[in-house]
Symmetry: C2
């Protein structure tokens, strides 16, 4: 299958400038990127040719922290403090979840990802086999994250789970990969974290986790271990092969020195931090210190959407309030976080831009909508006025999965909605 | 012309519950609201019958503070501090604006309003006759605001302008109304404000203005007049017939007492306050004290969009950060601000809900999109995960102006985009 996307504006992310041109795709890979005016290109030998009508093509967004199957809890319990929300609403509902529910609920998340221009997500949730199957069946690219926890010894079961899932899912399918991960410092005993550090050395693999999301979490860790979560994890050897911390809202100068030195990425989740009143992460300081930043939606229970435009907008604008400086963090930095940094953090360098040999994970942004006009600075438009309403096409591994509001997936959206509503009605009815 | 919108979910805003039913419209007015299961209704005698497919109908959003024609400056100058942004970028560009440009640029704003489910806007900008004409030509409902300023006496010209525009536009057309207004305390001398207070008494009319947007503005006013802007305006008699202050980010307890006593509304513009790093308004305190709050987008130069979903989302979630409390401000309060309060603030009580005799200004929200599923709590979905992508139809005064992404307007959007791009190219080229 060869596809030609022509008459486009290209924001390849390998360079800052937007150029007019076209992209050729062979199977799952970008074959050629042709800048307008270049000689010697052909319009023959393609199975499909799509006129992009001068709209923008750019790499798809990488959602670097998510709990996709939590779609069933969207708007289920809002406007509650974090602990009450978790203990009285979220955990009891999750306890009623069945393995087969996760397959359906992940499909619902994928529909929303495609609507939002997200082409890869990093999923931390129970039943990874169901998540992987949903992604394979709908053609969505996923990186699964270990999500073990346990406050008491022995820790054998958690470690075995992590090993088994790593062996099962790591580089297991063109669309499915796996990374070592655990829930958080506050949900794991020291013995478990030490074992995970051993696994990291054994596989020479990066480790991912929730980290320093709330002020309370950092204080509690100081009380338990005399160190911040970042320093404690570093002391255990969890950062020797890279990885990332999700949230990192509260960090000290020493924490940031460690993150920089060990090449640990920050995944910021501004909508979740806002809605749960956790705080605003010091993104400008991370950028100034050369720490890599990427963006995540977190789960739909705490967000409540999986809208990457919202996350990009908030990542930029909340910094302006935090630092009382309208100049804090620029649109280009945000676009880099959303695409290049996300791909590198996830260990998918072949998804980091529009260039020959890269995976054909890209999106078309409709510039012919009033919220994108006039075309003063397209990157600014994307970040400050862009919307999921501008996503005209989402392509993953060369397959168009979403175009002009229509899903080209193996299951009809309406069936997924019906199933998701049945699941939450069953669960809510049994609480 | 009689239209029947059937098979809908109705959020009338006259009651909190969502009910299944239908809405009948005759010419520009809502004729009947039928709750499902009620006897004696007919399917005959309609010119058009629209199956809403169980989607949501609710009153259109009221954008209570806007400078629509500033669309030409969207993404023109981002990430600059307020004064540098105004003096070095915005004012020089505005100085090159021609009267006929405003007609085109307001049309562009209207397209974006319709895309966003906004059915009325309160417009503060130069050349009100061009704004009024653009709205009449496209079928959009507008309230024009006086926007005079002047730091030096004599003030006759500004007062004459205000009188002339009031006489010309006040209740001048089914879709066009006018309110007394001035730019701000910091751009007006005391003599001018005294004259405006006189006009307010003469017409028994409310007055509207920018008020206490930044900390600096309040401090400067304290230095000039020994009072906050709210107290100073109150002392001049500007609040005797109601009205509203735009922004009101920085207020004292005494300010809030005055606002409550005089029935002055607050129009909050969270996206603009965020992007320009102005601050977060104390909305929860306004609500607790029974002060009416409504919502505005401000101009697209400082926002950079005219996206009411973004404003509603930010109005709710920024309060959670401000008060470090996830329970601060609930979705129902936001929906009330966006519809009922907005209509009352603008002096358009006949646009405040879906009920017989009210103007047929309503929108259809597509619930069959992944970001709105499952249907746990529809108002929460609207505020926390809703998007302009969910706006399936926007109707004003009984006319469907936007439906399924298509504009039913007298001018093709592409022509408006072309003209808007020509205008900013001309202006940017001459700076």
């Amino acid at each position: 299958m060869r596809i030609r996307l022509y008459n486009a504006r290209l924001l390849t992310m390998t360079q800052k400038e937007i150029v007019e041109g076209e992209v050729w795709i062979r199977e799952d890979t970008i074959e050629q990127v042709i800048v307008k005016g270049t000689d010697g290109y052909t319009t023959e030998g393609f199975d499909q040719q799509i006129d992009c009508e001068k709209n923008l093509l750019l790499p798809g967004f990488k959602n670097c922290h998510a709990h996709g199957p939590m779609t069933f809890l969207r708007s289920f319990a809002d406007d509650l403090p974090l602990q009450e929300w978790l203990n009285q609403k979220i955990f009891p509902a999750e306890a009623k979840l069945r393995e087969e529910d996760v397959y359906i609920l992940m499909q619902l998340a994928i529909l929303e990802y495609l609507q939002s221009g997200i082409t890869t997500s990093f999923e931390m949730y129970f039943y990874p086999e169901q998540i992987a199957q949903a992604c394979k069946d709908l053609g969505f690219r996923v990186v699964l994250s270990g999500t073990v926890f346990g406050l008491e010894e022995p820790v054998t079961e958690a470690v075995d789970t992590l090993c088994r899932d790593y062996e099962r899912f790591h580089e297991s399918h063109p669309l499915v990969d796996y990374r070592l991960g655990f829930h958080s410092e506050y949900s794991c005993c020291k013995a478990l974290l030490e074992e995970i550090a051993k696994l990291s050395r054994q596989y020479q693999a990066p480790v991912y986790m929730h980290n320093s999301e709330t002020e309370k979490e950092v204080k509690d860790c100081m009380n338990r271990h005399g160190m911040t979560p970042v320093q404690f994890m570093d002391s255990l050897g969890l950062f020797e092969f890279g990885g990332a911390g999700h949230h990192l809202v509260y960090t000290t100068a020493e924490d940031r020195r460690i993150l920089k030195e060990k090449g640990i990425y920050v995944v910021t989740n501004p909508a979740s931090n806002l809605k749960l009143a956790s705080g605003i992460a010091p993104i400008r300081e991370y950028l100034e210190q050369g720490i890599g930043v990427a963006i995540g939606t977190d789960g739909p229970a705490s967000n409540n959407s999986l809208n990457f435009f919202k996350e990009m907008y908030l990542t930029a604008t909340l910094q302006k309030i935090r630092y009382q400086d309208a100049a804090a963090v620029a649109p280009w930095d945000i676009l880099k976080m959303a695409t290049v940094n996300g791909a590198h953090l996830l260990g998918l360098p072949f998804c980091d831009g529009i260039a020959p040999g890269r995976q054909a994970d890209l999106i078309q942004i409709d510039l012919q909508k009033p919220n994108m006009q006039p075309l003063n600075h397209v990157p600014d438009n994307l970040i400050y006025s862009g919307s999921i309403d501008n996503v005209r096409m989402t392509m993953i591994a060369g397959r168009i999965l979403y175009q002009d509001g229509i899903y080209h997936t193996s299951v009809e959206p309406i069936r997924i909605y019906e199933s998701a509503n049945r699941i939450i009605r069953r669960i809510a009815g049994s609480l």
